[in-house]
């Protein structure tokens, strides 16, 4: 068989650049930076990361190649390129937020893991073959486990990593079991071929076992209730930049691949989650996950005292809203899903960025945020933007994201209005969520500070947080900037 390596290489240039940057970061740190102060070191390494990621983004911006490796192990099309660009941008933001914290001396190792995790996400996005999906998922997960444990002075970090690892291993087992059953039923690895073989076989009980196993596996990954138990502990224990990375980048990639598996691989087995016309398939399973996530996430967040934990539960709830986008099982829903997770990721990185700053002056408890508006006015204004966006207040990106997802969910099934029950639940719960986001803002703006010291912020971190806040406002006011891109990529791909 003739195999053109040059073509494969040119399609995989962005991934290659990211991996090379990863090793470069390690090398630069070892050779040149050992003796510099931590903050300078982190800034320089973050710059290296940014340069690498930006060149990969730029490359994807100019080259419009499409590529499909045998058996869809590695697929490049406008949609995957767009999502990869988004992921790399999130990586850059995370890298600069790391400047603020000093949880480790092993900065080279930290950045190489960060970049390897990004590479894992990129491969994950490009995979349309169950074997490749699993491998990329493991590359991503293993990097994240280690990153979670990176704060060696903190027991909680170790605990978080262990929990994350055990749950992650379990979820990997579920995923693998599900995927292997699918292979057993169809004899295919490639998602399109699987769908073709499955056509007409969707009554096979084995297939349903496989389906549920796969969804459970990914349910762990995206922290959908009732598979969310690891999330609050992992979010709280990890170093804050890592938390933001788990909540942002890894979420975008996981949702993208989950949607792809379900849309492409299980096409024809959607079923129907409508109130009166339930048909078994994957949408009812997801509908249950979405409903539980939205309820549990929002209700549990109300009683949290730690902002990181609060954001963890809110992440579970937002996972529920995003699942609504997948439930629609069409292109429109897919576009709304990508818009939703992207804007959510931008918002949550910003929010964790603020938490990372405040953490240096005490902790991440709600009371540590008291009177922040007088200690750090700019940071507080940004936090307000992030919190209101998460709560879905217009005209911020979070509002349009929810609006878009709900609209596509209502339109589902052309005429049945079957998902109305879920949309009503989601809207009701998002009204509930306003309460706890406002609790954070109340601390910042209304309660008086016990500690009056001015909060100092590292310049790169401040810059990133402000940029994210502006992005959230702009994407909310002019959603078409992103939606247009997504729709264009969809129509081309």
């Amino acid at each position: 068989m003739n195999f053109d390596y040059a073509q494969l290489f040119s399609a995989a240039i962005p991934e290659t650049v990211v991996v090379i940057t990863a090793f470069l970061a390690l090398l630069v740190d070892f050779i040149f930076l050992r003796n510099l102060p931590a903050r300078t070191r982190t800034s320089l390494l973050a710059t290296v990361t940014a340069v690498g990621c930006l060149s990969a983004i730029a490359w994807m911006g100019v080259s419009h190649s499409t590529y499909r490796l045998d058996d869809a192990i590695f697929v490049v099309n406008p949609m995957t390129q767009l999502v990869k660009q988004i992921i790399l941008a999130l990586t850059i933001f995370t890298a600069f937020i790391s400047v603020q914290t000093n949880f480790t001396r092993h900065l080279g190792e930290y950045f190489i893991l960060l970049l390897l995790a990004s590479a894992g996400m990129m491969f994950l996005v490009s995979a349309e073959n169950i074997l490749a999906i699993f491998l990329a998922l493991e590359l991503l997960s293993l990097s994240l486990y280690v990153l979670t444990a990176f704060n060696k002075q903190s027991v909680f970090s170790a605990e978080a990593a262990l929990k994350y690892f055990l749950f992650g291993g379990m979820s990997a087992a579920f995923t693998l079991f599900g995927l292997s059953l699918i292979y057993g039923v169809t004899g295919e690895m490639n998602l399109t071929a699987i769908a073709a073989k499955l056509a007409g076989k969707t009554t096979d009980p084995l297939f349903y076992v496989a389906l549920v196993m796969t969804v459970i596996g990914f349910g762990f990954k995206v922290a959908a209730a009732p598979f969310h138990m690891w999330a609050p502990d992992a979010y709280q224990g990890s170093p804050t930049p890592v938390t933001s990375f788990i909540a942002a980048g890894s979420k975008v990639a996981s949702f993208f691949i989950l949607a792809k598996i379900l849309f492409t691989g299980f096409a024809g087995a959607e079923g129907d989650a409508g109130w009166h016309h339930y048909i078994s398939g994957w949408t009812p399973v997801l509908a249950i996950l979405a409903a539980l996530s939205v309820i549990i996430g929002n209700l549990a967040a109300i009683s949290q005292k730690s902002v990181k934990r609060l954001l963890a539960y809110s992440a579970i709830a937002h996972g529920g809203y995003a699942l609504l986008g997948i439930l629609t099982a069409d292109q429109k829903g897919f576009a709304s899903l990508i818009y939703y997770v992207t804007t959510y990721a931008l918002t949550v990185i910003g929010a964790f960025g603020v938490v990372a700053v405040v953490e240096n002056y005490g902790g991440d408890k709600l009371s540590d945020f008291a009177g922040l508006s007088r200690r750090a006015p700019i940071l507080s204004a940004c936090m307000m933007v992030f919190m209101l966006s998460l709560a879905g207040i217009p005209p911020l990106a979070g509002f349009f994201g929810k609006f878009y997802v709900f609209t596509s969910a209502i339109q589902l099934g052309a005429k049945s209005l079957g998902l109305l029950w879920l949309v009503i639940l989601a809207i009701a719960m998002s009204a509930v969520s306003l309460y706890y986001y406002l609790q954070v803002l109340k601390q910042i703006y209304v309660v008086d500070a016990s500690d009056k010291t001015t909060v100092s912020v590292a310049l790169p971190t401040q810059f990133v947080i402000v940029a994210l806040a502006i992005a959230v406002v702009v994407l909310g006011c002019v959603p078409n900037l992103l939606v247009g891109k997504i729709l264009a990529a969809l129509s081309l791909g």
Binding site: I393, F406, T407, I427
Partner: protein, 515 residues
Amino acid sequence: MNHSLLLTVLTFLPVLGAALLLGMDGEDKKMSRRFSIGFSLLPLICLGLIWRQFDSGMQGLQFVERHAWIPSLGVEYFVGIDGLGFLMLLLSAIVVPFALVATPKEIANPRLYFALFLFLQTGLFGTFTALNFFHWFIFWEISLIPAFFLIKLWGGPQRTKAAYQFFVYTMLGSVTLLLAFLALFAATGTLDFIRLSELTHSGELVSAIGAKLTWSKLSPNGLVMLIFFGALLGFAVKVPLIPFHTWLPTAYTEAPSSTSMVLTGVMSKMGVYGFLRILLPIFPEQLRAVLTPLLWLAVATIVLSAYAAFAQKDLKRIVAYSSINHLGYCLLGLFAAVKFSSPGLINEKAAALNGVILQMFNHGVTASALFCFVGFIEQRSGGLRGLNDFGGLRKLAPVFCGLMGITVFSSLGLPGLNGFVGEFLIFKGTFSLAAWAASLSTIGLLVTAIFLLTMLQRVFTGPVNKRWSTWTDLTTAERLTVLPMIAIMFVVGIFPQVLLSFINPTVMQIIQQFK
């Protein structure tokens, strides 16, 4: 049609002011007060420009701005005003600065208070200009947030409960409204009010809904009815229509007086505006189908709230219930005007609707002035505002009594003052269209007169209450605050044509749409 950015500038001026105010350094109370009052007056200048260019003889929308915004969802930035919109803008531009000036000087954390107020003004302007559901809803919702905080942070002893009740109740209405419009969007692919009303009149709306949506076993008409109820609930809560009014007395009473002024003066008009701008053009048939029960509810709103006000012992609660009562007249006139689809009775319909819109404006002016006076009383009494806590104040404060008296008489509809014109037109129109409803509602008129006069009597006449022997009359600043409003009451009362000339073309257009 003139192309200018005036409406957009008008809408976003206050929020710019709020941002500048929050960005300013220092805790100078005087400074932030002057700054915010100045900024809230700028829209009046814009409105002056609009007034000059406004073609009052023209039907249809003016000052239209229309830009593609989110093409994939059919969302446009689409603003424009007709006579109704113009009058509501004018009302917002007058009442907000009035409320700001009437805010006590010693208010805590004035920067935040004034910033929230300006923010609220943007929400109001946006609601009254937007013609695409998407951003209309944004403004509709966004005006809730500052109102919530104004009640929650500066309110009376029960403020937390009142704020949450207000928020949750109106939010619930908004959710059904949102769902209704999402369903309309799913069926028609547009969120444009004008386009939707065109679809209704060509009959395509029902067929589009029938083709695109099903729900249990409902027929297309049943489905449209369901969607209509969703929207109706949203507006009925906001106005409020009895039995959806329970949030209002607590909210108005617990809110600081200057906030109550805007709540009753402008925010309550958002509901009636929604009826006129959205429900009437898009769902005329559905509205007509349930008209008799709605008329009953309007009558109940008028009569029961008047009796309820009579039973109150707290001045603010009295004014709050009287506010429900006055908005009841608006709904009465509105429902009566829709009653017949036949082209006849144009004069009666026009009278009723002219009255409705005029009443919206008048009530905004009068009720906010009443709350302002109650606020002055509260400032002097240290928070006491029981009906029986005072007595004989006229001897100590004759100007206070006189000016508040004028406001009260305007509220109960004395000829020569603004309240009379609106109510007269409403009753004139309604009597020919739905005589029984008009007759029953006159009970409300009577009781209103009784409880308002009782209020005047208990507070200002009788023996002087020893406790208030040091009661002071209105200061010059306070007189200057209320004087413009009193002037408006007289001007509109004597020359209603000033405003009616704007309203009438709009009313005629609405009536043509009934066919």
